[in-house]
């Protein structure tokens, strides 16, 4: 009886409290710092005068270049992940005998569970100007001389596609796994070709997985710090590195906080915008499909 009088989430209270203290409160503190300023060389922040000046200061040309760069790498990287992962996930879910699927999933997991930084250092070795890849490409006659990709935006793009690819393959695999063979065969029996089945049965049914995968890749990718640090050098800078440098080297917490807030806004706004655009583009298709169902009834 006494059980009923206890608040229902009581067992979750420790976790809720912990996350409020060490997740919500710190983020709010950063928001608060972003309205402050850096009073002197040896102090990191002060909040006795509140203003939007740090945001104005943050929005300088270097910042815009870096943010544009981040957005470019974020969008291109996510699209590349989707394009690369889509056939692989489909292959794993639809073409591989089920007893080997577990093994392949485990193989996708190995890079995912290898330390992020270590994987990226692996690419630093591969992409070195006189490294293996350089030698191989020279031998094939594709390039002449050293490979000049390390410490450029292309190297960062390659690095992020590599680093976040498992996060795209796994949700897509789960989504395709749910679209059973029966569904595709039914579509075929009803006269749909391969492409029609793919576009009208498999992809719409796998859509939740595609959206999850895209967000799982896009959001952390936009905040990436490690890949850009290891492979980017000065030319391949991303917003995460810029924010970090304000906290670690410049010791300007006020400006760094404003940049962090702007980065979060950029991620949220761009993801929402992309969602809106895709929704608008698909609107005519959704309408026609509804119409067909209506007639059939």
């Amino acid at each position: 009886m006494s059980r009923l009088r206890l608040p229902r989430p009581i067992l979750a209270f420790p976790a809720i409290g912990w996350l409020l203290i060490f997740f919500v409160a710190p983020v709010l503190l950063v928001l608060w710092f972003s309205f402050g300023y850096k009073p002197g060389v040896f102090q990191t922040h002060a909040n006795d005068k509140l203003s939007f000046d740090r945001y104005a200061e943050a929005l300088n040309p270097t910042f815009f270049t870096t943010f544009w760069n981040t957005l470019w790498v974020g969008v291109a990287g996510t699209l590349l992940c989707l394009i690369i992962a889509f056939p692989v996930a489909y292959w794993m879910a639809a073409k591989i005998p089920s007893r080997y699927r577990g093994l392949l999933i485990a193989l996708v997991m190995v890079p995912y569970w290898t330390n992020f930084l270590v994987r990226t250092i692996g690419w630093q070795i591969i992409l070195a100007p006189h490294g293996w890849l350089s030698a191989a490409l020279n031998w094939l006659g594709l390039i002449d001389g050293s490979l000049d990709i390390l410490y450029t935006r292309s190297a960062v793009l390659l690095g992020v596609v590599y680093n976040y690819l498992p996060l795209m393959i796994l949700p897509l695999y789960v989504a395709f796994d749910r679209v059973s063979q029966d569904m595709r065969e039914a579509s075929k029996d009803l006269g749909a070709g391969r492409i029609a089945t793919l576009l009208r049965v498999t992809i719409p049914l796998a859509m939740p997985g595609i959206i999850v995968g895209t967000l799982l890749v896009y959001i952390p990718l936009m905040g990436d710090y490690i890949t850009a640090t290891v492979l980017g050098g000065a030319k391949g800078n991303m917003a995460g590195v810029l924010v970090a440098s304000q906290f670690q080297t410049a010791q300007n917490w006020a400006l760094g906080s404003a940049m962090a807030v702007l980065l979060i806004l950029l991620i949220l706004v761009s993801a929402a915008l992309a969602g809106l655009i895709i929704w608008l583009l698909l609107l005519p298709f959704n309408r026609s499909r509804r119409l067909v169902i209506g007639v059939a009834k």
Binding site: I10, F23, S98, Y112, I125, A128, Y162, R194, G256
Partner: protein, 292 residues
């Protein structure tokens, strides 16, 4: 002739299909090679006998010897192990209780709590890092809570957030899949709620709790970004040591250490898979659990 023609005819029909399948297979193999390329390279270069990691000199075990000989390396691994175990214990405790509450005491609060967990899980690590650093400094210095100046405590706090979300999610999905009959029977037989929790709910959730604990441990071992911000000099975990080596110059012992840590991580993950398989999960369910 006729019989071979009869066999050839359906084959001809399937030919475009086979081409697509072959293409998918080739693409799959290429992507797997891509996924393993840097890991294989790190493994090979961990046997580089040269002074610099990136330029191959010859085969040797000098990297592994240097790794054991350098106190900075061994102590960073030791720091990571301690922080990993402690953050795993903490996250498992918080996450198990929260997961049980979500599965067995549903209500409007679950929506709000799920939203909070989602935010914790998807916030880019760099944002967690830059917000935790000022917060821990505020707690430790401005409020005078000395415990937050301790290196291990800071690492544990930083690692516990994401891990708590992961454990909560795993425990919740395990219990949601099992109906409440046993717990109701236990209550009908006059067991107190506490006794029911210990004797029925917790054993039912155990595979998920163990899997969550091991996953938290590996997440803790790998924590790089948050750790590099909140760490105190003297308690540097191994990924932060590697990150500082990226800036000052990479040596083969970095690769050797990475290989050792990878073997440790994969051992823990292998255990997770065994635990989940024993509990009757399919390969797809395991994949979903491990991918968070």
């Amino acid at each position: 002739m006729t019989s071979s023609g009869a066999i050839a005819a359906p084959r001809k029909n399937r030919k475009p299909l086979n081409l697509v399948e072959a293409g998918l297979g080739v693409w799959g193999v290429i992507v797997f090679i891509f996924l393993f390329a840097p890991i294989v390279v790190i493994f090979i270069y961990s046997f580089n006998s040269g002074r610099l990691l990136t330029s191959w000199d010859g085969f040797g075990f000098q990297g592994y010897e240097a790794m054991i000989a350098k106190p900075a390396v061994t102590s960073s691994v030791w720091v990571s192990l301690r922080a990993g175990v402690l953050s795993s214990v903490l996250a498992t405790l918080l996450g198990t209780l929260a997961g049980v509450a979500m599965a067995r005491r549903p209500g409007k609060w679950v929506i709000w709590f799920s939203a909070l967990l989602l935010f914790v899980a998807i916030t880019p690590e760099i944002v967690d890092a830059v917000s935790l650093l000022p917060w821990l400094v505020f707690l430790g210095q401005d409020l005078g809570l000395g415990i937050f100046n301790d290196g291990i405590v800071r690492l544990v706090v930083g690692q516990s957030l994401f891990s708590t979300a992961v454990v909560t999610y795993i425990v919740r999905s395990r219990l949601v899949g099992l109906n409440e009959n046993l717990e109701e029977a236990s209550a009908d037989l006059y067991a107190s709620p506490t006794k029911t929790f210990w004797k029925i709910t917790l054993p039912l959730a155990m595979p998920a709790v163990l899997a969550g604990a091991l996953l938290s441990f590996t997440l803790g071992l790998d924590n790089t970004i948050v750790a590099s911000f909140v760490q105190v000099s003297g308690t540097t975990p191994w990924p932060v040591y590697v990150l500082s080596a990226v800036r000052s110059g990479l040596r083969p012992d970095i690769a050797s250490m990475s290989v050792v840590m990878l073997v440790l991580t994969l051992g823990a993950i292998g255990l997770v898979v065994v635990v989940l398989k024993k509990a009757g999960d399919s390969a797809t369910q395991i994949a979903r659990t491990l991918a968070g």
